[in-house]
Amino acid sequence: MDTVCIKSQKQIPVIFSFLFLSIIFSINSVSAQDGAKLFKQNCAVCHSLGTNKITGPGLAGIASRVPSDDWLIKWIKNNNALIKSGDSYATKILADNNGAQMTVFADLKDEELKALVAYIKAPPVEVVVTKKDENGAGGKEEEKGVNPLAILIGVIAFLIIIVGVLRGVTHSLRNLQREKEGQEEIEQVGVWRELKIWMGTHKRTVAVIALFILGGLLSASWDGLMGIGVYEGYHPAQPIAFSHKIHAGDNAINCQYCHSGVEKSKTAGIPTVNVCMNCHKGISKGPSGEKGTAEIAKIYAAAGWDADKGAYTKAPSPIIWTKVHNLPDFVFFSHQQHVKVGKQDCANCHGDVKTMTTVKQDKPLTMSWCIDCHRKTEVPGIKDNPYYESLHAKLKEKFKNLPKEEQVITVAKMGGIECGKCHY
């Protein structure tokens, strides 16, 4: 026992030092990788890594232009102070940019600044991603695939032909045999006649089959009728191949950054072009190369932005999107009610948009679907939102004798499935 103890005590500093090293290593490594990230977060809105000017000058060849790395760090950290100190190169830059000053980044730490400068001086060569599923071609390919129904019909037709041929073969074989035996040839009976004879002799089987067929037809037409006006899976092509996967998924942009009305209004709102331009002033290339660039150019056209001059020069025109989620006119639906008050996650109704290249209607959006949720969901905030105070007390009293799981105050129990709540 003792020796074991000693042995383990000896190991502690070793473990500690290992841990310490690994932490330091990890910090260092994070900083190093962050050069790119920091650039995207702080600089990319105004600066490109190429030669073109956005709001600020392009940064290609910066190392040869500026006096020193230290100067560059000072400039990024507080260009204002540098200008005031009378630095000659700083004042020159100010004059070059018509007196427009750069934002001050006093919050950036020295290590971060070093990583940033390192990144700016030697940005990695961009790798053009050519994977098909990322540029939205996947969906189209699926459409091009052979329809399984066609295969089925083909197989059935093939089988029918085979059955017919085999029937002919057996018939002639039988006749051959009869000929051998010296009997008369039998005339070939038509398929229909034979079927009729068979049906006459197998009435019960026929009745059962007929019932099945009838049942199948009824259920199919019922399903068909119920499906009228339900557009689950609807994914229309959009004027711009905007990918939620890239924006909300890969870049993890919060839904509300673009759909800003969701907590304020009944509509979540489709972002206006100027919201796109917040980022796309700096990002003119997509991850998938040519295609992305062409699509982003459509935003520029809508905004009237001239990427080369870095200015809004042309007349803007709105983008005409195709609405994916359509509710009938006789339904009143409010996003703020569900998101702000009801604390619902966007994905509950819109599905996992983060993975969608083209947005599709993920849920049926039928009334029964709405009601199902209203029946299941406990009213968020019923216990702490003062609005519900007296209602909560009364409902609690009302349901206190029910089994525990039925005591949950759902939206439906508060009148949330009444006609007048959504139809007016």
């Binding site: 009237g304 006609c419 007048g420 007016y424």
Partner: protein, 1091 residues
């Protein structure tokens, strides 16, 4: 109460066979199944047969399902750059002001995605006090009027602004250079900045003069005040401070001077409760039964020619008591009532008010004399803080016409006026205008006058404009654009604000917004002490919309250039400096005897006199192209889409004029005045003075816009009947010839259908009774059972509703409701209610969710009992008795108004009969209607005791028969409330108690994580009410105003509660400030004995 017989129209009183038949049917007319099925071809021979029907059915089912299978592709177009203040789906509110030269109200404008969709009153205004009227409520639709012209016109052809401006400036310069007269003809301008603009314009073209002319003029009052007080102004009246109100034909609740303001004051003075069991008493003398007369406690019908005599006799009666010298007078039939009024007036010196609607200076002088004797000046009448509304000067207008006819005027600029339509026929205005070389109109359409203009320079709509207003001394308000001009470059040449046009022509910078700021910096800003910086003051004023400043004796209107005007003002100032004694001396100078002689001298020359009046919907006719207003039933006659002659039934007898079915069919008569003849239907009007008929102004506009093409010209223009007497416009016609035209025409009234079958649904009492017993007039009908009499309310077939969450309730104070119809138009705007047109109203298919029932009441008297006995002896029934009753009562019936909308019964009969559960009850006490579920069986309408359900017989939004519906116009559609569904054919609809507002109010509270406060939610009808008669709130909230009222007020009652339907809407008994009738006294005694 029990002795009062209420009837909704003469048909009911006469109990005509048609009426009885209609009363028994739910839908008054035969239901035209054949028409309904198609275009009528199907039913050409012998109707539709079974095979055709099945074919149609099969085809439509297939077509419908095929159509439904197609995925609808909807587009969504976001802004390129979203304006900061707009969040799509969220309403923005802007303070603004409505003033059309006639009505004034400070407003809040609700906009959605940059479109104004509703206007509501602004509580901060001390003038309109949060009230609106029907015309102002409807004004938002006038913005989206596709009949507006979209750019300037030169000689009836579209032109460009640059060319028009160039030509006008050249012409103005040459006219001004040769000293030719330039005249600006305008309706009343209460905008200090506009006056400054005109002053600037006059500085550039010194021969300019402003002539103010109002379609309905009050210059008689102005002249009288100039003579009495040396102040040519209209005073402010305080109806709330008056205990006794005597009105001689002044329709102050609907049209006279500033009706919104007066209605609010009037209601404040007449609000009663147990603790405050007093109210003002209102005497009314008039010829037509006006809205104000209908609300009066005592009403005396007098001929138009006798109105002056009433004033003289009242003067004498008051003088007799206070000891003044009487004027020469003649006896009148209503002298007893005058004496009674005089007695009460003198008992309430300084707390009384006498007003008169006459535009005759002499009559107004006598009325001033009465008010002076009663010491009302400085108390109920404020001549210092005078009103600026209605500055029209008839004499100046007459002079202008003379000048124009003589060819002395070289340029005429017309702003906000339509004189060719509104001027008297004698003026021959069209000819006079054509003699003017340069004719410029700022009209927004090519109307009756603008079509004669050389140039039409269309002005913005008020919702697109900047402007300022000074309705009353010390009261200011602003209007701001709530939408970018609808007609603008590059799509159209565009409209332009009139003030900017004038500034441009004067060679000044045209930005009117900064111009107003400049004017305010100099004039309004120094009068207030709250803000140090102008920017702060301006922003707050703009935010609040209406402000009050202390005036002292500063000069308000910046009209330095108008030298004559300033001279006048100097004179006025001098006079002000003199003491009151001098003023009194001046008063003595006024020769009241001469005035009385002239007032007495008015005599009807022919068989009939005419009292011209304004309707509450159409008013002066400037919004005649507004279908909401055309479809608003007149509060008294309940007739829509027409004007007509109202005649006393007694006068109609023996003239072969149709007296029954006045809501559908009427005889035509030719009315001739001054050689002008118009053909109008004649309607028997109870309460109409014998010998006088009434005809409404504002109709017969043939160039008002597309409505006149779609449905024909509505009504007839009777403005030509106006005469100039003693230098003022007279709206009383002394000599009219009326001849039966031996023709009939159709009228669309909403009056007799939806009858209540004579059940007591309006409860009323007198103030005396109320003081003794707060339950007076409201004793519940008892039900006899084995265990004695019980209140039917205590018996219930169903279980009580749970008391969870909210339970909405509404209470309407019948004592405050004046029946003006503001709520009806507000409801139409808020809930996208369809306009159905004259024909459909005739088929009893109007869609208004909220209607105002008007009942006439007849007192039973000993005479009536005799009539009953007589009828019984003769073996005749009730019909004969009612006919006997007609003579004394129809002459002057009492009137009650009752707004009826869905009563949201807690045990609703409509809910139990719906086969598809399209209508059902919410836990919040609302009777909900799911349109998408409704299959149109109409069982619910059949089972509704209140007849408030409305069925969409046609697709009013698409059918080519209803092109006048705003939903059928690309522009008109912009007025729709996006939170409310537009209903289609085959669907039942009704009042939803503005469930969209209720839900929105709740959501705001939930988002802010707070309790819902009483008053957070205001319904469309309640906010539009100028008298605050409608109270809405949560009955489950013990502290809400409505809960308190229901607990404590004995006047609270539910209509038809004996049916056990438990309505959610309740009413408060109407209290009249009149003495008990003898029979009532007897009844009261009997009741006491019983008790």
């Amino acid at each position: 109460m029990g002795n009062t017989k209420y009837w909704k129209g003469l048909e009911e009183l006469n109990n005509s066979p048609e009426f009885v038949q209609k009363a028994n049917n739910e839908f008054a007319e035969q239901i035209p199944v054949e028409d309904f099925l198609g275009d009528g071809n199907l039913s050409k021979d012998n109707g539709t047969n079974r095979r055709d029907f099945l074919k149609c059915l099969g085809f439509s089912v297939t077509a419908a399902s095929l159509a439904a299978c197609e995925t609808p592709v909807n587009k969504a177009i976001p802004y390129v750059v979203r304006p900061d203040e707009i969040t799509p789906g969220v309403a923005n509110w802007y303070a603004s002001t409505y003033f059309d030269g006639n009505d004034y109200a400070a407003l809040l404008v609700k906009t959605r995605e940059g479109r104004p969709i509703k206007v509501e009153g602004n509580d901060l205004s001390k003038v309109s006090m949060g009230g609106t009227n029907a015309r102002i409520q409807a004004s938002v639709l006038s913005l989206y009027d596709s009949s507006r012209i979209t750019g300037p016109m030169a000689n009836d052809a579209p032109a460009t602004w640059s060319s028009v401006d160039k030509e006008i400036m050249n012409k103005l310069t040459s006219i001004s250079a040769k000293g030719g007269a330039i005249r600006i003809l305008s309706s009343t301008i209460i905008s200090p900045s506009t006056m400054a603009v005109i002053a600037d314009f006059t500085a550039k073209y010194p021969t300019t003069k402003l002539v103010t002319y109002d379609a309905v003029s009050y210059s008689g009052i102005i002249k009288a005040n100039e003579q009495t007080f040396g102040k040519a102004v209209i005073p402010s009246y305080n109806f709330d401070k008056a205990e006794i109100i005597v009105s001689i034909a002044a329709d102050f609740l609907a049209n006279w001077l500033s009706p919104i303001e007066y209605a609010r004051q009037y209601a404040m003075g007449r609000r009663v409760s147990k603790e405050h069991a007093r109210m003002s008493k209102h005497y009314h003398f008039e010829s037509n039964l006006s809205l104000t007369g209908a609300n009066a406690d005592e009403r005396g019908p007098v001929k138009v020619s006798e109105q002056g005599k009433v004033a003289v006799n009242l003067y004498n009666a008051v003088a007799k008591i206070v000891g003044g010298s009487p004027l020469s007078s003649s006896a009148l039939a209503c002298d007893a009532m005058i004496a009674k009024a005089a007695k009460e007036l003198t008992e309430n010196k300084g707390k009384s008010l006498v007003v008169c609607g006459s535009n005759d200076t002499n009559v107004q002088l006598i009325v001033n004399g009465i008010n002076q004797m009663l010491e009302n000046y400085g108390k109920t009448i404020d001549i210092e803080n005078h009103s600026n509304l209605h500055q029209g000067d008839d004499a100046a207008f007459a002079e202008l016409i003379n000048d124009m006819t003589a060819g002395k005027v070289d340029a005429l600029i017309m702003y906000n006026t339509n004189p060719v339509y509104t001027a008297p026929s004698s003026s021959k205005l069209a000819d006079a205008i054509m003699k003017v070389g340069l004719r410029i109109s700022f009209s927004d359409r090519s109307d009756e006058t603008a079509r004669f203009a050389t140039y039409i320079c269309p002005d913005h709509h008020y919702l697109e404009s900047w402007n300022d207003f000074n309705p009353k001394k010390g009261q200011y308000s602003l209007s701001q654009p709530t939408i970018t001009p609808l007609f603008a470059q590059p799509r159209n040449e565009g409209t332009r604000q009139a003030q900017e046009s004038l500034l441009l022509w004067a060679g000044l910078p045209t930005d009117y917004h900064s111009y107003i700021q400049k004017v305010w910096t100099a004039s309004v800003f120094p009068m207030q002490g709250k803000y140090m910086m102008f920017g702060e003051f301006w922003n707050n004023s703009l935010h609040d919309g209406a402000i009050e400043v202390s005036t002292g004796d500063e000069k308000l209107i910046n009209d330095e250039a108008d030298k004559e005007g300033s001279k006048k003002e100097e004179k006025k100032k001098d006079k002000k400096k003199e003491e009151k004694i001098k003023e009194e001396k001046e008063v003595a100078k006024v020769d009241l005897n001469a005035a009385a002689q002239k007032a007495n001298g008015m005599k009807g020359a022919g068989e009939f006199e005419i009292a011209l009046y304004e309707k509450i919907g159409i008013g002066t006719g400037n919004q005649a192209n507004n279908p909401w207003l055309q479809e608003l039933p007149d509060p008294i006659s309940k007739i829509t889409w027409d004007n007509y002659v109202t005649m006393s039934p007694a006068d109609m007898k023996g003239k072969y004029l149709l007296m029954e079915r006045q809501d559908r069919e009427a005889s035509l008569v030719n009315v001739t005045v001054n050689g002008v003849t118009v053909k109008l239907p004649v309607v028997p009007q109870p309460g109409q003075a014998k010998g006088t008929v009434g005809i409404a102004l504002g109709y017969g506009r043939f160039r008002a816009g597309k409505l006149s093409q779609q449905v024909g010209v509505v009504g007839q223009n009777v403005y030509p009947f106006i005469q100039m007497i003693n230098g003022t416009m007279s709206y009383s016609v002394m000599d009219a010839k009326i001849e039966a035209a031996n023709e009939t025409t159709e009228l669309a009234g909403t009056q007799v259908h939806h009858t209540m079958m004579g059940r007591a649904i309006v409860k009323e009492t007198s103030l005396e009774d109320y003081k003794k017993d707060p339950m007076a007039g409201n004793h519940p009908e008892m039900m006899r059972t084995n265990s004695g009499q019980i209140n039917p309310n205590t018996v219930d077939l169903w279980n009580e509703h749970e008391k969870l969450g909210h339970r909405w309730g509404m209470t309407i104070d019948l004592n405050s409701c004046i029946g003006c119809g503001s709520c009806v138009v507000s409801c139409t705007a808020e809930n996208n209610v369809a306009v159905v047109g004259k024909k459909m109203v005739m088929n009893t298919r109007e869609m208004h969710w909220l209607r105002i029932d008007r009942y006439y009441s007849t007192e039973w008297s000993a005479e009536v009992s005799k009539a009953k006995e007589k009828a019984d002896e003769r073996g005749e029934g009730l019909v004969a008795m009612y006919l006997d009753m007609e003579n004394p009562s129809v002459e002057n019936p009492k009137v009650v108004f009752q707004p009826i909308m869905c009563q949201h019964c807690n045990h609703a009969p409509c809910e139990t009969v719906c086969p598809v559960l399209a209508t059902n009850h919410s836990t919040e006490g609302l009777n909900a209607m799911a349109y998408n579920r409704c299959v149109g069986t109409r069982y619910c309408a059949n089972n509704c005791p209140f007849k408030v359900r409305r069925f969409n017989w046609f697709n009013y939004n698409e059918s080519p028969d209803f092109t006048f519906n705003p939903t059928q116009d690309d522009l008109g559609r912009m007025v729709l409330n996006p939170d409310v569904v537009v209903r289609s054919r085959g669907v039942m609809e009704k009042c939803s108690m503005c469930v969209q507002r209720v839900q929105a109010g709740k959501l705001e509270a939930k988002k802010a994580e707070r309790k819902l406060k009483d008053g957070d939610i205001k319904l469309a009808c309640a906010q539009a009410c100028p008298t605050n008669a409608i109270l809405f709130g949560d009955l489950n909230d013990e502290d809400s105003a409505i809960s308190k009222l229901r607990r404590t007020d004995e006047r609270n009652y539910f209509i038809l509660e004996e049916l056990g339907i438990k309505p959610t809407v309740s009413y408060l008994t109407k209290v009249r400030n009149c003495e008990l009738e003898e029979a009532e006294k007897e009844e009261a005694k009997e009741e006491k004995e019983k008790a």
